[in-house]
């Protein structure tokens, strides 16, 4: 028997205490009255052999109690052999189902190879099926039922996403940790170079994993693809439509490709380009006709090659009339409207027209007809208009709230009700969040000076996008229900600042306008696997909906009221209706990284294999024995309790005897 905390054994010296007490008690008795001690003499028992330990049983019990308690604290244990299961082997089948596996019949080859390996396993071998694209999905196992594993392999279909070996390695490391098993990994893939992570360290497998690579497909495959399509997703003037497409070849020679532009299946134009060997070629389509409304566009090339799926590129475009922006200004303060309208009108591709309107006449106006509302220095905003504006924003609208001297005098920020005060300190720019969509491309406001600002304290959930040099907020975004507001704490004319005199003024006005109108200049097409937002708040009363490329609803009833985002996994067109009522047609294209068929060099694969174990020795299902410490402290504590009970019984008995003898 050993002890984990042997220091407690030093307390065994305390065993002397009961011994001393018992001897002392024996020796010292209560004085007995006697009539006269004149005939008595002092007599002591000097010899220890005359000292008798009375109540020996009680003494032994107390000694045992103390000793057992100390031994318990010392945490005694014995080493005991236990038959425990050693590390068993798990055979992992990782099958690449990314976009590139559509080439020829590579996925079928991978599945057949996986089946072959699976059938070669012993009856008790435990297996697991993983499907690999941008993420790793476990389809079956770990389990010894090989029929179930086969069935899972059969269900694997190609996706439109790119594969990631880094993601696979991370998932395998987690699997090894959670199962405690040694992994015998079989990877069935075309082993594209583009699937490798940027950092080789992300491919480290660990000592409990052995990697075997089953490469499918040819080592060298020439492939052309429509790599990208660049066009504005919103069209307001058909005379200004413009589309640029790029055709790329990998491991190709020089070739001519015919590019076709179609919209909703209607041919709009064709062009022919010569693609240099392993290079790119671009083509432009100008002033093509786009009817009003959302449309499904496609750019395709011919002739097709071994991977025809990337010879087409989907994009979405919508034509609409320019939307109006309501600019509310206080009477006698139309100067700022002039500046704002001039800025908006100068950007022809925004699809927005500024409509100045006196604030005093805005009561009862239907704000929902406008892309967004600009509330300019509205210190005298009446309650009815304020309520209507709040309701408009709450239901998905947007507003640009400009603060000026009138607002400073009123002491309150319209719509937000935040306190404000006048600040006449001359300041420059201190901070800009240029990564935010509202300020992307707006520059850094260099050399802009502000003579008058409204000093406000934003709410806790507000997002400060820009600050002046003393740290006061300059531009603040707030969410209100399904909508949002941007608050600019200075004027947008040159009365409180010289902002309009600087180059950053126009991009600021245009970008904030785009942001508030929801017409941000995003791509006309997104890659498969991209997530799109469905709602801004957790208001479960508003439902969102997504129709997939096959026209079917992608969300369940519960998801439609709760989901915040949706992953666009398949190539094609998705119709998205957000909880605020906005509808959007989104084009999804396959990840063009998969079009590059270049393979991972063999030496790189060897390096990858070497990050794991060369062999996996443990036999499946073989138990092993190991010596483990078995703690005895519980049993000692049980004895302590028993000794305490018996000691109390004996102690009370002897106490009674002592009382009677006294």
């Amino acid at each position: 028997m050993c002890f984990l905390s042997p220091l407690f054994l030093s307390g065994l010296v305390l065993l002397g205490l009961p011994l001393w007490l018992h001897l002392l008690r024996q020796y010292r008795r209560n004085p007995q009255p006697f009539s006269s001690v004149m005939f008595f003499e002092r007599r002591l028992q000097s010899s220890t052999k005359h000292r008798r330990l009375r109540y020996i049983t009680l003494l032994l019990l107390r000694l045992a109690l103390l000793a057992l308690l100390l031994l318990s604290f010392a945490n005694p244990f014995v080493n005991r052999k236990s038959a425990t299961a050693g590390k068993r082997k798990l055979i992992v089948f990782a099958i690449d189902r990314s976009f590139s596996m559509r080439t020829a019949n590579e996925l079928d080859q991978a599945k057949n190879e996986a089946m072959r390996v699976l059938r070669g396993l012993s009856g008790g071998d435990i297996g697991q099926i993983l499907a690999l694209d941008s993420r790793v999905e476990s389809l079956a196992g770990p389990e010894p039922n090989h029929a179930a594993l086969e069935a899972a392999i059969q269900t694997i279909q190609p996706t439109d996403e790119a594969s990631s070996f880094g993601e696979l390695t991370r998932a395998l490391r987690v699997e090894a940790q959670t199962t405690g098993m040694q992994l015998d990994i079989h990877l069935f893939s075309d082993m594209q170079q583009t699937s490798m992570p940027a950092n080789f360290k992300d491919l480290t497998l660990g000592p409990d994993a052995k990697l075997q690579i089953h490469k499918v497909g040819a080592n060298s495959i020439a492939n052309w693809a429509v790599e990208s399509v660049v066009t504005s997703p919103h069209v307001y003037d058909v005379k200004r439509t413009q589309l640029t497409t790029t055709v790329t070849g990998w491991q190709t020679g020089e070739a001519t490709r015919k590019i076709t532009l179609s919209l909703d299946g209607r041919l709009l134009g064709t062009k022919s380009v010569t693609v240099p060997p392993g290079g790119r070629a671009q083509a432009q389509f100008l002033a093509f006709d786009v009817p009003y409304g959302p449309h499904r566009g496609k750019v395709s090339i011919e002739p097709h090659d071994s991977l025809p799926n990337d010879d087409e590129f989907n994009f979405a475009v919508e034509r609409s009339d320019p939307r109006r922006v309501l600019f509310l200004y206080a009477a006698g303060n139309s100067r700022e409207a002039f500046y704002y309208k001039a800025a908006i009108d100068s950007a022809t591709d925004t699809g927005l027209i500024a409509e100045p309107f006196p604030l005093e006449q805005a009561a009862g106006k239907d704000f929902s007809k406008y892309a967004f509302v600009v509330l300019n220095d509205a210190g005298g905003l009446n309650d009815k208009t304020a309520q209507d504006l709040c309701a408009y924003v709450q239901h998905g609208g947007a507003a640009l709230v400009v603060l000026g001297p009138s607002t400073a005098r009123s002491g309150r920020v319209p719509l937000s009700a935040t306190r404000t005060s006048d600040d006449r300190t001359i300041q420059g720019i201190g901070f800009i969040d240029s990564q935010h969509s509202a300020l992307a491309g707006a520059g850094r406001f260099e050399n802009v000076q502000f003579f008058q600002t409204n000093r406000i304290t934003p709410k806790a959930d507000a997002h400060v996008l820009a600050r002046v040099s003393d740290g006061s907020p300059l531009l603040v975004e707030e969410r209100m229900g399904e909508g949002r507001t941007l608050t600019f704490t200075s004027t947008i004319d040159n009365s409180s600042n010289d902002f309009p005199l600087h180059a950053s003024f126009l991009p600021f006005v245009v970008q904030t306008a785009r942001y508030l109108s929801g017409k941000e200049e995003g791509p006309s097409s997104v890659a498969a696997g991209t997530a799109v937002p469905l709602r801004q708040t957790r208001n479960e009363g508003t439902a969102a909906d997504v129709l997939g490329p096959d026209g079917k609803h992608e969300l369940s009833l519960a998801e439609s009221t709760k989901a915040f985002t949706f992953d666009l996994k398949r190539e094609g067109f998705y119709e998205i209706q957000r909880s605020g009522g906005q509808r959007q047609l989104v084009a999804v294209h396959a990840d063009r990284r998969e079009s590059d068929m270049r393979k991972v060099p063999n030496d790189t694969l060897d390096l990858w294999r070497n990050t794991g174990s060369a062999t996996v020795e443990a036999k499946a299902g073989a138990p092993s024995t190991e010596t483990r410490p078995f703690s005895l402290w519980r049993y000692f504590m049980i004895l302590v309790v028993a000794a305490a009970l018996v000691e109390s019984v004996f102690g009370s008995r002897y106490l009674k005897e002592a009382g009677q003898s006294a």
Binding site: Y27, R28, R29, N30, P31, Q32, P33, F34, S35, S36, V37, M38, F39, F40, E41, R42, R43, L44, Q45, R52, S661
Partner: protein, 299 residues
């Protein structure tokens, strides 16, 4: 009365169950007198000596009714033996007298003895008095044979409480003041004092023609102590504590106490004093017989 019943009445364990001291005294004396096979009449001598005028409270059985018939005045017959002896009972009530291992403590036993003696003296029409003492006189009842004296004496005995130390000189000084006539002095004590000192204190009384009886009252465990191992003893008078062993109590102590008792006896006898050792576990009749013997011898 049968002898066994008579002895039971004098058995201290029986007497301990009776709380009334007067009753105890009567029980003891009646038992003792019955054992002597004497006449139940009061008085021990039947020889007529003289007449005495009747005073309220006197026993009507001793009225000479013939004289009353003739003279219409009551007179008591007095017999030989009814002398004017004064009996003084001196009771030690020091703290050591509170020791006891049986049903009666020494003080209780001494009270019973004293009550029996005063009752017996009362029967014999002796003038009887009482002095209780510890380190000083705690109670003094002047000797008298008048009506109510017995009650006063019994009350004085019953109400006696334990004091602290023992001082023989004080009571005897008081006694010498009040004993104008020769009489009988009974000293009841445990005599935890140097025998020479005790005798020297008591002897002067003897020189004046008084009879003195020393009743040495001891508990059985004082004579034969039994200790269960080493023990710490506390003196009840001096509060002195002393550790001693069972072996010592069994051997050396017994020798010492026996020597002390013997010294008391021999010195008392040498001084012409009566001495009687009384153990609280023994009946009282032997003590009474000793008293009676001395009383008659005086006559």
């Amino acid at each position: 009365m049968p002898v066994d019943v008579q002895n039971r009445l004098l058995d201290p364990s029986i007497l301990a169950q009776i709380s009334n001291l007067e009753l105890i005294a009567k029980t003891v004396v009646d038992g003792f007198v019955s054992g002597l096979h004497r006449s139940p009449d009061f008085g021990f001598s039947q020889e007529f000596a003289e007449y005495r005028a009747y005073t309220p409270g006197d026993d009507l059985r001793h009225v000479d009714w013939n004289v009353y018939a003739r003279t219409e005045k009551a007179y008591l017959k007095r017999y030989r033996g009814e002398t004017n002896t004064t009996v003084m009972v001196l009771l030690d009530v020091s703290a050591s007298m509170g020791f006891g291992s049986g049903p009666l403590r020494k003080i209780d036993y001494a009270k019973i003895l004293g009550a029996s003696l005063v009752y017996l003296a009362h029967l014999q029409r002796d003038g009887t008095g009482l002095i209780t003492f510890a380190d000083d006189v705690t109670n003094f009842v002047r000797p008298s044979s008048r009506q109510g004296q017995l009650i006063r004496l019994l009350h004085g005995l019953d109400s006696a409480t334990l004091g602290k130390r023992t001082e023989f000189a004080r009571p005897f000084f008081e006694l010498q003041r009040v004993m104008r006539r020769r009489g009988l002095t009974v000293l009841i004590s445990d005599f935890y004092e140097d025998p020479e000192t005790v005798i020297k204190t008591v002897e002067p009384l003897r020189y004046r023609g008084n009879e003195v009886v020393l009743f040495h009252v001891l508990d059985a465990r004082e004579v034969e102590p039994v200790l269960d191992g080493p023990v710490l003893l506390l003196d009840m008078e001096t509060d002195e504590a002393i550790e001693t062993s069972a072996d010592y109590a069994k051997t050396e102590y017994r020798g010492k106490i026996a020597a002390h008792i013997e010294a008391m006896r021999s010195k008392a006898q040498s001084a012409g004093l009566g001495y009687f050792l009384l153990r609280t576990d023994k009946p009282l009749d032997a003590a009474l017989r000793e008293y009676f013997k001395i009383r008659e011898g005086k006559l």
